[in-house]
């Protein structure tokens, strides 16, 4: 007898439909599964057998063949457990194929028959062919986001069997519980003094310009970086859905009402491998940290401690806004549009940029700075020196501006960018710059001077214009870019890693 059930499995952040066919026939008891299952999939046999037993159904002592179609797609994970169990029940005659009907089944089985949630529920649900999907309660809220499917949240295998046999009605989707209030983001009001660093944070958040903070240890670079999520606007619907898909597929926690609204903040440790950062792995091609940071912030603390190979792997995603992960079996394209924020000491002792302050040997300093390639450093449009707060700053009475008004300004600039057809000013294509960021004569003259002096390249020129556009937007100054906007953009972009020791008298 044959049982056929629809299900799905995950590749990257996309679900692919899987047809589970179970064939039971007379012969020596055996269990064979075909269709490129991975280890977790192969172990389904033991989980299903125990779950069936806990539900009061004996494992058939017959020859069982499970086929997971299509045969060329690698089946990953434990989400097919429920479908295999249901198809097996159909094949043994315990339930009828009509009972299954048009429904698809997703879920991992515990040995006691309870249904456990699956990663990537929303991605899988998207790929399912049927009109209705049966899946664990904890994954139901996510699947419900799609809106076009009937969702039946179920708690255990016995419940599923009862519904299939017609003894119970299929449970309807319930309103998901409101998520508990999330703890407040760290607030800018805690940052004392440091006006330039705060301003750079605002420009980075408003325009999506990548930010590099340089300075000695204890200057507060990490503290500043963690304040960025608090000034970014909540995710728009389309972005929220994409972020939810990525986080779900990566196995990261998703709020109980299903949708992620807060811009993500990912801060991988500098020991992270290239795969954990970029995504991949041999089987499921899981999204990495850079995809989890899409529409949010990727914070790399101690940038120089990251392996150069890992940093090199970031260059292309920074350019394209996506990462292509290729393996022998498949290639997936994962989103990777994030705001990159990094912090580092300019040299091993930390005081490298201050003239006369660095105590490192020439060799140590050059070796340290060589870990970061020029092309990677070039990606940072904002490079600011963050100095240690002074005693007056720390004990002074003046508190900094809180995050709320800053967030309003940032949101207003993001709105302006949307009006120009992009998500943020950093994404403005070069060809529209003349139209949306026209220069006054004074601004053009200043740029020409800097170009002639060799302090700016052609690509740098376009980047400076984009940053100047954000600066003008923040100041509420209208369409024209004036020389003080350009001057500020240039100042915020100085090269903090010249490679040579602090102030040497140059030849001539």
């Amino acid at each position: 007898m044959l049982g056929i059930v629809s299900s799905a499995c995950l590749l990257g952040i996309d679900g692919h439909p899987v047809t589970v066919e179970v064939h039971v026939t007379e012969g020596l008891p055996s269990y064979t599964v075909v269709g490129l299952p991975d280890a977790a999939c192969r172990e389904a046999r033991d989980r299903v057998r125990a779950a069936l037993h806990s539900s009061g159904i004996a494992w058939p002592m017959r020859r069982i063949t499970v086929n997971l179609a299509p045969p060329t797609l690698r089946k990953v994970g434990s989400g097919l457990d429920l479908a295999i169990a249901v198809a097996l029940l159909v094949a043994t005659g315990a339930v009828s194929q009509d009972g299954v009907g048009d429904r698809s089944f997703l879920g991992e089985l515990g040995l006691d028959g309870t249904l456990r949630p699956v990663s990537g529920a929303i991605c899988l649900a998207e790929a399912l062919p049927g009109a209705a999907v049966v899946l664990p309660v904890a994954s139901a809220a996510e699947a419900g986001l799609l809106g076009d499917r009937v969702v039946h949240p179920v708690a255990s295998l016995p419940q599923v069997i009862a519904c299939l046999q017609g003894e119970e009605p299929w449970p309807p989707a319930t309103d998901p519980p409101d998520p508990p209030p999330s703890p407040p983001s760290p607030d800018l009001v805690d940052v004392r003094g440091q006006p330039v660093a705060r301003y750079a944070l605002e420009v980075a958040a408003a325009g999506g310009h990548h930010l590099l903070m340089l300075g000695p240890p204890g200057a507060g670079k990490t503290m500043l970086a963690t304040r960025i999520p608090g000034i970014l606007p909540p995710l728009a619907d389309g972005d929220a859905l994409e972020v939810t898909r990525v986080h779900s597929a990566a196995g990261l926690p998703v709020p109980s009402d299903g949708l992620i609204r807060r811009p993500p903040f990912r801060a991988p440790h500098h020991g992270a491998s290239a795969v954990s950062l970029v995504g991949g792995g041999t089987n499921a091609l899981r999204p990495g940290e850079i995809s989890a940071a899409t529409s949010g912030v990727l914070f790399l603390d101690e940038l120089a401690e990251f392996s150069p190979r890992v940093l090199d792997a970031l260059r292309q995603p920074l350019e394209e806004g996506a990462v292509r992960v290729a393996r022998a079996a498949a290639t997936v394209r994962l989103p990777a549009r994030f705001l990159l924020v990094a912090a580092m000491n300019p040299c091993p002792c930390g005081y490298g940029n201050q003239p006369g302050g660095c105590t490192c040997t020439d060799g140590a300093r050059v070796r340290y700075q060589r870990r970061l390639s020029g092309p990677l450093l070039d990606r940072f449009d904002l490079r600011v020196e963050v100095g240690k707060p002074t005693v007056e700053d720390l004990f002074g009475s003046a508190r900094g501006e809180p995050s709320a008004p800053v967030a309003e300004r940032v949101a207003a600039v993001r709105e302006l960018a949307r009006g120009r057809g992009v998500g943020s000013n950093a994404e403005l294509p070069t060809r529209v710059l003349d139209e949306v960021a026209p220069l006054t004569d004074a601004a053009a003259a200043l740029l020409k001077d800097v170009l002639r002096a060799g302090r700016l390249s052609a690509r740098g020129l376009h980047r400076v214009r984009r940053v100047a556009r954000t600066i003008a937007d923040l100041a509420g100054d209208g369409i024209e870019i004036d020389d003080h906007h350009v001057a500020t953009a240039l100042i915020l972009r100085v090269d903090g890693l010249s490679g040579r020791p602090p102030h040497q008298v140059l030849a001539g």
Binding site: G193, Q194, P195, V196, A197, Y199, L214, N353, Q354, P355, G356, G357, C358, T359, R383, V384, E385, V386, G387, L446, D449, I471, A475, D483, H484, H485, A487, T488, L490, I491, V494, D495, G496, L497, S498, P501, P502, H503, Q504, V505, A507
Partner: protein, 380 residues
């Protein structure tokens, strides 16, 4: 072209290049032997070939004194095949003069020094007679203000007829030499490596300029690497050649402080340039001042200390464009210390956009120098 090494200079050069041949041992050899005999004795392999006793090695492996002696005797024996005639020819071909104590052109103060050099190698003219000499030294990691001052001092002393001696190191030394070249004078550079081994690499053009327009001196023969121990040895020569030693900027400890000790041992007066108490690169010089060294505020202070009466430096009109009101406010916010954008924004009390534009104008006008994210005022 073969020249007979009649006066033994080739042998002296080879002797100076033997491993572990320090200044005092070389002096012993050339005091007790003629150069050619000294070379023969040193490379003879005899048990007394090393001259005075060898102390234990200071390398990581402890070896007994006997082992060290034996090893060194064998090493020197192995170099016996080197030909003094060829060495003399090589030095001559490279334009290097080999000077022995007793030569007419051997600098007098070095001849009678407490720790004299036995052999000197020189490239360029030797304008060292009857001219007052000032050594200018300082840290490699100096501020822009310090480097600028060293350069100015080098130039003004040269114009006043003083010879300026320094070590061709990065930072203050290089700036001082450049100042002398600015005033079309002859810099005197004392280095720790062979005169054909440019160190540091970054000073290659400066090295050649000093050799061409001034003189390069060393105790090390052709091909000698800039080994660490050669630099304190070189510092004593700088101190020995000077009538006055001026330290422009120094951290708490450093090579310049060693040069100061050598100067004190020779009763050479030491003067120091005062710096900001906040600046780490003036910590050493400020300490020297607190211990009684006279301050150097400008070249006139040095000339007075030398006992030269000279014209006061002319009032030079600042050629730079007027900075304007905002520009002046920003310049005041500098307080003559290296500052970041943040320091200036806070001290000047101006918004970031105004400061940015003003900084650009000041950089273009030559009032400020930018080094990465730090900015420094430039003196007129």
């Amino acid at each position: 072209m073969t020249q007979v090494d009649a006066d033994g200079r080739g042998a002296a050069a080879l002797l100076a290049g033997l491993p572990r041949m320090g200044p005092s041992r070389l002096v012993w050899f050339l005091d007790h032997f003629d150069p050619s005999d000294a070379w023969a004795h040193a490379t003879s392999g005899r048990s007394d070939a090393l001259g005075p006793l060898v102390r234990g090695s200071n390398q990581s492996e402890p070896r007994s004194a006997v082992e060290v002696r034996a090893h060194l005797i064998a090493t020197w024996r192995g170099l016996a095949a080197l030909d003094p005639t060829e060495a003399a020819a090589a030095h001559a071909a490279a334009g290097i003069t080999i000077l022995l104590r007793g030569d007419a052109s051997f600098p007098a103060e070095l001849e009678h020094d407490v720790a004299p050099p036995a052999v000197l190698f020189a490239r360029g003219a030797l304008p060292l007679v009857n001219v007052p000499r000032v050594a200018i030294v300082g840290t490699r990691r100096c501020t822009g203000v310090g480097a600028g001052f060293a350069r100015e001092l080098g130039a003004e002393l040269t114009r006043a007829g003083v010879a300026v001696v320094s070590g061709l190191a990065l930072g203050v030394d290089g700036a001082a030499h450049r100042g002398v070249l600015d005033a079309t004078g002859g810099p005197v550079g004392v280095v720790g490596s062979g005169l054909d081994v440019v160190y540091p690499q970054r000073h290659r053009p400066l090295w050649h300029a000093v050799a061409q327009q001034g003189v390069l001196l060393s105790e090390a023969p052709l091909g000698a690497r800039p080994s660490g121990w050669r630099f304190p040895a070189r510092n004593r020569l700088i101190a020995a050649l000077a009538d006055i030693l001026v330290v422009v900027e120094s951290h708490e400890s450093g090579g310049s402080m060693l040069t100061v000790e050598e100067a004190v041992a020779r009763d050479v007066p030491v003067m120091a340039v005062p710096g900001s108490v906040r600046s780490p690169s003036s910590a050493g010089t400020n300490r020297l001042l607190s211990e009684g060294c006279h301050p150097v505020r400008d070249a006139a202070d040095v000339l007075v200390a030398l006992g030269l009466t000279s014209r006061s430096p002319q009032e030079r009109v600042d050629q730079r464009p007027d900075p304007g009101a905002t520009g002046r406010r920003v310049l005041e916010a500098f307080d003559w210390q290296p500052s970041t954008l943040e320091h200036i924004v806070v001290r000047a009390g101006l918004p970031v956009s105004d400061v940015s534009l003003t900084l650009h104008r000041l950089i273009a006008g030559g009032w400020i120098d930018a080094d990465g994210p730090w900015y420094e005022r430039v003196a007129g």
